[in-house]
């Protein structure tokens, strides 16, 4: 007998059978939440929950329609846990001049950092040229940078000493100095 489709239908039927889990789960869940604070209504940004093991950057770039080139988006939202649908690629043109460089917003979650700066090809790798602004409450650091189309190696420098690549951006493969970088590509040429 060879009826794989019929077999699949019957398989689906079986898979739809209800499953009963151990009710002890209820008790374990309630015990786990007993010590937690009441959940608060919060905004769209990440909180430094226990699943944020390391600093995580989020990069959102408002798309700009360049007259001669395709509108380009470099939007990476580094959410490991998604509680809402990820933002769609933004392609709304904004009223900017054709020659104006598109802006890229860099974000990094580093709750225990004192200073964070963005260092890369676009600022001559100067450690203090592009400091990022941080909010105390959730350790969120941001900066917005105008960037012409091109390919840029960069990393975050935390507290003037620790180099942190962007976990959600591609790594630069040529790592000549022992500290990995990330790469940002902006098309449009």
């Amino acid at each position: 007998m060879s009826d794989p489709n019929g077999m699949l239908d019957r398989g689906i039927e079986v898979l739809r059978e209800p499953v009963v889990l151990d009710h002890q789960i209820d008790a374990r869940v309630m015990a786990a939440i007993a010590g937690l604070p009441t959940p608060a209504r919060s905004g769209p940004f990440l909180r430094a929950g226990d699943w944020l093991i390391r600093p995580r950057p989020i990069r959102i770039r408002p798309a700009v329609a360049l007259a001669a080139a395709a509108a380009l988006v470099v939007a990476v939202v580094g959410l490991r846990e998604r509680t809402e649908p990820p933002p769609s690629l933004q392609t709304t043109p904004t009223a900017t001049a054709a020659r104006e460089a598109p802006t890229v917003r860099f974000m990094l979650v580093a709750p225990s950092a004192t200073t964070v700066s963005l260092v890369g090809d676009f600022n001559d790798w100067a450690a203090d040229a592009t400091p990022m602004e941080g909010t105390v409450t959730d350790g969120l650091w941001t900066v917005t940078v105008p960037l012409q189309p091109g390919r840029y190696r960069y990393a975050f420098l935390v507290d003037g000493a620790t180099w942190v690549p962007d976990p959600d951006a591609p790594r630069a493969l040529d790592d000549d100095f022992g500290r990995p970088n990330s790469v940002l590509t902006i098309g449009g040429t």
């Binding site: 689906i12 001559d124 790798w125 591609p170 493969l173 000549d176 100095f177 449009g188 040429t189």
Partner: protein, 216 residues
């Protein structure tokens, strides 16, 4: 004092011949030791003569300086990059822009071959290969073997614009981040790119009903 002053004047005059070179000298002078700076500038001069882009080389030297690397390492990195840039330019052929050469150099470093770069240029006549080469490099960084990444980028070359390439790479990244192996993610995305029409042909989505599911 007098001979020294005229020597200084001579050096100054020489330096000011090219404004750009002077600007680069200023950045390197501020950040590199004299020994490293001399070696790096030798590489820059040679690259400039060959018509290669020098900004990536300067950036690499400055990166090394900021990260506290020793002179030997900085000079080695700079020399290696210059060699990659030259190889990329040779592979692409004449008439290629600085950004393309730089992206090509990264791709070579990632494991693409010269002939792959040449094929990429042929597959995209009149269009920039910067983003295509950059995406190739990024895919390798994700864990896709160089041959496979090259094949994927070439497969898309004829019909993908820059935005499509970047979206493709972003999708593969996300799939890898969510647990797919790099090659599997790449293959699925290639299929999706290539047969998006097939997906639409499956018709409007309706909940499956018990019994025979709709045949695609």
């Amino acid at each position: 004092m007098r001979p020294l002053r005229s020597a200084c004047a001579l050096v100054l005059a020489t330096t000011m011949l090219t404004g750009v070179a002077a600007a680069q000298d200023a950045r390197l002078a501020a950040r590199l030791s004299p020994g490293a700076r001399a070696d790096v500038e030798a590489v820059l001069d040679s690259a400039r003569r060959d018509g290669l882009p020098v900004e990536p080389i300067v950036d690499r030297a400055l990166e090394g300086a900021t990260k506290g690397a020793d002179d030997t390492r900085i000079v080695a990195a700079v020399r290696r990059l210059a060699a990659d840039l030259a190889a990329a330019r040779d592979a692409f052929g004449p008439g290629v822009a600085d950004a393309e050469i730089a992206a090509g150099a990264s791709a070579l470093r990632a494991g693409a071959r010269g002939q792959d770069l040449a094929s990429l240029r042929t597959a995209r006549p009149g269009q920039s290969v910067t983003v295509a080469a950059a995406v190739l490099t990024d895919l390798v960084a994700l864990g896709v073997p160089p041959d496979t990444a090259t094949a994927a980028v070439l497969a898309l070359a004829a019909r993908a614009d820059d935005a499509t390439y970047l979206a493709f790479r972003r999708n593969v990244e996300r799939d890898v981040a969510l647990g797919a192996t790099p090659v599997a993610a790449l293959t699925y995305r290639l299929v999706t790119e290539g047969t998006a029409q097939l997906g639409d042909a499956l018709g409007p989505s309706t909940p499956a009903s018990p019994g025979r599911p709709r045949k695609p």
